[in-house]
Symmetry: C2
Subunit: 153 residues, 2 copies
């Protein structure tokens, strides 16, 4: 059983960047943390963009699909912050060093994104299209608000 | 307002691979779909691996952290399937062409992972450590079970 557990876990974490030290996060190197947050942002952008396409009429609005996208965005919004570890301003990243100089403000902005995404996921379950658009806009503003300050052009 | 909406969405989907056609998925190219599913698997592996480290005693067990990881895994398990679009067996991928030859079996396996991950997220909220370990093992088996058949060594 113990050997099976080990084998199954090894397959599940194949390709992951897990270390086995008792740190708050488990990144071995800054590049792993950068990859983690970029993966999360990429998935977030894809799911959010699909919602935007529906709201802008670039594809048919599908309430069920919109709801799933909103749930994905709410879940994904929780992930990137863990990847902004100390020292990960160096490497293949658009993140400005300013993030770490103003970490508490950056963290607050990321948490605002999480809150607004959670509210959007709730709004997506209602039939109130106006409220849904407002919740979408509120979430979208987080991206620009944060990128303007903390991301390279 | 319309211009603001456009600007905010554009920032939110910066770097995404969104097309604006009315397809079921929004990938412009097979490589975008490959990148999408690999990003999801990578985040999944990281979060799942951390749970494994806690269960194996490689780091202290933290019920709250374990619960968050389980929620992440449950959410992330829903994402990769969308990236297995037709033609995306070609490229930088470990996915075998067999996936598309036996797509309904592959889809069923991915949905089993989603179900087991959802059950794990529920188990993670209880104090029953034995049930939690069993739910973890059940989820872990999906990785090996699917990789053995559908992934290059």
């Amino acid at each position: 059983m113990k050997s099976n557990l080990k084998k199954s876990i090894l397959v599940c974490i194949a390709g992951s960047v897990l270390a086995t030290t008792a740190q708050a996060n488990n990144f071995k190197e800054a590049d792993d943390a950068i990859h983690y947050r970029q993966s999360a942002f990429s998935l977030l952008a894809y799911n959010f963009g699909d919602m935007g396409a529906m709201l802008k009429g670039k594809k048919p609005f599908d309430a069920q699909a919109f709801n799933l996208r909103a749930e994905n965005v709410a879940a994904l919004s929780k992930l990137p912050l863990e990847g902004f570890i100390s020292g990960s301003d160096k490497g293949e990243t658009g993140a400005l060093a300013k993030i770490w100089a103003e970490k508490s403000d950056f963290d607050a902005k990321m948490k605002q994104l999480q809150q607004d995404s959670a509210a959007l996921a709730i709004a997506a379950k209602s039939d109130d299209k106006k409220a849904l658009k407002q919740a979408f806009m509120k979430t979208a503003k987080n991206c620009k608000g944060c990128h303007d300050v903390y991301k390279k052009d």
